[in-house]
Symmetry: C2
Subunit: 338 residues, 2 copies
């Protein structure tokens, strides 16, 4: 398989010499050009194999102006949601023959997003997926952007770019209606941080469901997605006697709520029902197992690549699509009839 260490790797010209053809013919074989005689092709392939030749994608990218690399900008890939989405993106991209270059942001202010996009644009990516669940990120996308096809995951109403998202409001509605259908008078809500579009969508769905049922919406409790913030919200809720149902904006916070309830002797679901959001793998084993709203992160990742590739390869780099993935309710033991 060639490639003696220390010697410079073979290039197309070496293969051409070995096979007794021109470098262009080698290029044709590599690019599966139809007009190459079978015999010639065989000679070239043999030479490639003999020398252990691998084509230089950097040189190729220089002349074709396509790197076959997609950029992904994401916020905190340590969280289950973004991690799963990025995973789906990566799988779909690789299946389509694209590389993935990742930038994980710590803070998601406009400057950070701008830097990340510039950074990726410099590298010559053919397209960018921004997992931009925050309003600020989505806004940053709206003004800046330069000429690379872009799709935003959870990008809100942004009409400058294509968007793929889960219908968060629908999720909030499903959770709330589930609780109401169990006979609860009203449903409390532990919400996510206010800059997050997902948090707002869930609040909106929750509020809409309550309104439609003619119920009063209590003041939502603030959280920041962390179990700790859920725990603190849970302590507040535990001290209120009229709380019988809580919709928590993600499973991690729901875990904190459950913990606080356990400490205070508040039985779930006997005295209070709890619904989470995300369906992380752990939630089935919470105590009690958590009723939650399932988001198909994998589908979101796959779809975002599909949309992006349509823009890149379909020759409509500025096309704008909007693709909404529906969430679903997963019923478990943390909710019960009042």
């Amino acid at each position: 398989m060639g490639s003696i260490p220390g010697r410079r790797p073979p290039v197309m010209a070496d293969v051409a010499r070995e096979a007794g053809v021109s470098h262009q013919t080698v290029s044709r074989v590599l690019n599966e050009h139809p007009n190459v005689r079978g015999e010639t092709r065989a000679k070239v392939l043999e030479a490639i194999d003999k020398l252990g030749y691998r084509r230089n994608l950097v040189a190729r990218a220089l002349v074709t102006r396509h790197s076959r690399t997609l950029g992904v900008v994401s916020f905190d890939t340590t969280l289950y949601g973004p991690a799963s989405t990025v995973y789906g993106i990566e799988q779909a991209a690789r299946a389509a023959g694209y590389f993935i270059s990742i930038v994980s942001l710590k803070s998601i202010d406009r400057a950070g997003v701008r830097d990340a996009l510039d950074y990726l644009a410099d590298q010559g990516v053919d397209g960018i997926v921004v997992v931009a669940p925050q309003r600020s990120a989505a806004q940053a996308l709206t003004d800046l952007h330069l000429g690379v096809p872009t799709v935003a995951v959870e990008g809100g109403e942004a009409d400058e770019v294509s968007v793929v998202c889960v219908d968060q409001a629908e999720g909030g509605r499903l959770a709330t209606e589930h609780l109401l259908s169990l006979g609860h008078e009203t449903v409390w809500h532990v919400r996510g941080p206010s800059d997050w579009l997902e948090a707002e969508g869930r609040v909106a769905g929750w509020r809409a469901a309550l309104e439609r049922a003619g119920r009063e919406a209590p003041e939502p409790l603030a959280g920041d997605w962390s179990p700790r913030s859920g725990y603190e919200a849970g302590r507040s809720l535990a001290s209120m006697t009229d709380v019988t149902a809580v919709f928590v904006a993600n499973d991690q916070m729901a875990l904190g709520v459950l913990r606080a309830f356990t400490e205070r002797g508040v039985q779930v679901p006997d005295r209070v029902s709890v619904v989470g959001f995300d369906d992380v793998p752990e939630s089935e084993f919470f105590s009690p197992p958590l009723t939650t709203i399932r988001q198909d992160f994998d589908a979101v990742g796959r779809h975002s690549i599909e949309v992006l590739l349509r823009q890149i390869e379909g020759g409509e780099p500025h096309a704008r699509e909007r693709l909404v993935v529906p969430p679903s309710l997963v019923g478990r033991a943390s909710t019960a009839r009042i």
Copy 2:
């Protein structure tokens, strides 16, 4: 800021013309070459700004033979450990001015690893980090590899490449000794899948600690890292009357164990003490809060980049380092004196 859509982006020659200098002088300014007159530099920078010029990194990579991109091969970036490690890698790499290209593997057989490495090598990465916690992956690394500096995270004894890892055996020892110090006669173990080096390291540490204390090591229960497998192990353990202490090989399985114990009315920590591994953010809010072994994934990620860059930039591409990060015990409410 220049860059009229539709027109081809400006290149170095355009900047040179605008500034009235040669393209080489522009290159010098960009590369911070010392011998450029301040006035000239200013003219060039002004022209760059005016035209909105951005240097083409692909062309640069072609001639320098350095892409300033590092490849990362990882297995299931949905899990907290790999996700956190990759996050640390990404942050450290970007801080050092490198891009990160990611390949997430579904299955980690030799062919998969080989493909991933080839794929990245084709792309022209300057170095590769393989997050290879499985024995098979580590072995795959050992034979194949071609000429790109490589570092393995959790790569076992592989002596073909540099390795950065957490001292898993030490973690197992810490967990076990903690339980023994609380007066438990022996410690049961729910282990991870047998192909995983981390699982084996933890088993080894557990066994060693028991041996040193002169205790019998019970047969470990098999798990696959998932909460469900922990749950099943937990059901078995709940039915044994002589179990008072369990060391579970990760926090997710520990959650499953706790769930099973709760269902069977086994009090933790009153009747059985439980220790996990990883210190995921949720574990503090399990019921009860989980005593666990903390791994500094972030440090592992950072160190792996440091080691890799030393190989790449230090001119010793085949140097082999071994860097071990110590774990630590985080005491919480799931363990108590017998």
